[in-house]
Amino acid sequence: MIVAVASGKGGTGKTTVTASLAVTWPGPVMAVDLDVDEPNLHLFLKPDISGIETVTIEVPEVDEEKCTYCRACAELCQFKAIAVMGKAIMTFPEMCHGCGGCMAICPAGAIGVTTRELGVVERGLARDLIPCVTGRLRIGEAMSPPLMRHVRSHMRAEAGDADILIDAPPGVSCPAMSAVADSDVIVLVTEPTPFGYYDFTLAVEAFTPLGKPMAVVVNRAGLGDERVYGFCAERGLPVVAEIPYRRDIAEHYSKGLVLAELDGELSARFGALSRTLKEMAKEGGHA
């Protein structure tokens, strides 16, 4: 089963929750960081990296000997990645989405394949027990979805019998949606502040049409206002855990430590949360 930890607003505690679930999960579990722009889960789970795989996409390489400057490629390309001007053809590989259209449509067979690096996938083992997979976007690379797609397409096979915990990117646009698309349950981490509340409502709007069970974790409880709770009640969203607003928690986090291991009470709380989510995912998976 797959549990995705997401949020609208960044910095609400997605990674804190994912890391704490990973160390308290009942049974084998794999932790996957799909926030490829800014992956952070490894900073807390600290896996020993055993392999780094470079991920690329196919971009065009034109053989000017064969090119007839017919413009078919440039007219098809929706991303301004290939241009023909008179008797000159230019490619802009950083604009290319890797759809392969230019290669397929060229009547002269003049467009071959080269690659652009999207980033890497790091694999490792935390605590000799928890397999960790991290997608890491190359700095300067604009497109995160194809790298995320690569990680997602392999994670089920790699996990085997283990459950999968996904640390999703922030926001509610395409990358966040694709990170939760495979999950059996979505955990939304929010905070009871005006920013947290507003972005949470966006996230609920975005994820509801997926028809997956959703559970809410309220972080920094006691800070701000109460509207997050009212919205959850109205939408029938269960608040499955609260993490109190405490300075010692923020300091613990700043040391790169896992919140579930701060004290026995938090450990028990995350243990219970893990069991609740596993139950929800089981039901969601059968639904």
Binding site: G11, G100, I105, G171, S173, P194, S254, K255
Partner: protein, 291 residues
């Protein structure tokens, strides 16, 4: 014309609270929220919409079931896994469709339409701190750099028309497409970070992105008293990389209190936190003038 973009790499470091305070302190500017995915600046600035418009970004493929003969060419050619079998025929998942037009071009029956994609709404508004350009994507839409570029263009036109010499932008988290677009033409990137492993890690990546595009970087360390070791580490990084340390802000609930009251933190507190933000703004103004 000067343009500042406030970014963070990591979300939740205080980017928007700092932007709102700078919007309060800066004179003669246009404010621009470039976090079109999860925008929050409007919650503090209470914009009164003057003008709004639809935002369209690219196109999407839609299979006409009547004309589809179920040959499967679209599915074979789609590199994004966006085509699903639908009985004997096929359909496109709009979430996965990149709008590349390959299926449209190769469908032997010309059964695939390619309408433009309506992704959200863009606004020009008035606020108590001056004019503001902002937008809201519909949930689940592609967060394209295209919308960010359009907002920046709109802000620039507005600033020129109104004789304003500064564009103050709240950026998006991350280092991908929307952030890259927000950095184009910027004179200065202000990175708001925090002394945590994630804050440091994400600052390194987003500042390297700025270096890649040759954008000058200033750093503000929020919640600096949370972890002295990481704060020192960030300061050392700034010295090593030539980033300007514009300020250190304490861990203070006044930021949330101001948020609850829908105010910029400098409107509420001129003493501790507010004074530090004010000092940071003075440093940033100096950088802009020296530019």
């Amino acid at each position: 014309m000067r343009e500042i973009v406030i970014i963070s790499g990591k979300g939740g470091t205080g980017k928007t609270s700092v932007t709102a305070a700078f919007a309060h302190l800066a004179e003669n500017k246009v404010i621009c929220d470039l976090d079109v995915d999860a925008p929050d600046l409007h919650l503090l600035l209470d914009p009164q919409v003057v003008r709004e418009g639809a935002f369209h970004s690219g196109n999407e493929a839609v299979i006409d079931r009547e004309r589809c003969i179920g040959c499967g060419t679209c599915m074979e050619m789609c590199r994004f896994g966006a085509v699903d079998a639908d009985g004997e025929k096929f359909r496109i998942d709009p979430l996965r469709c990149e709008g590349c037009k390959v299926c449209v071009a190769f469908c032997p029956e010309e059964a695939i339409d390619f309408p433009s994609r309506h992704c959200g709404t863009r606004y020009v508004s008035d606020t108590r701190f001056g004019p503001m350009v902002h937008a809201q994507l519909f949930p689940g839409q592609e967060n394209s750099g295209r919308l960010v570029s359009e907002l920046k263009k709109e802000a620039r036109v507005l600033a020129e028309r109104m004789g304003r010499d500064l564009i103050l932008c709240d950026g998006a988290p991350g280092i991908g497409c929307p952030v890259i677009s927000s950095l184009s033409q910027a004179d200065l990137a202000v990175v708001v970070t925090e002394p945590t492993p994630s804050g440091v890690h994400d600052l390194e990546r987003v500042a390297e992105l700025c270096d890649h595009f040759r954008i000058k970087v200033a750093v503000i360390i929020n919640k600096h008293d949370l972890n002295a070791g990481h704060t020192e580490g960030i300061e050392a990084m700034c010295r090593r990389k030539g980033y300007v340390l514009a300020g250190r802000l304490p861990h203070d609930t006044v930021v949330t209190e101001a948020m609850v009251r829908r105010q910029a933190v400098t409107e509420m507190d001129g003493e501790n936190f507010g004074r530090r933000v004010n000092e940071a703004w003075t440093v940033i103004q100096g950088l802009l003038n020296a530019h």
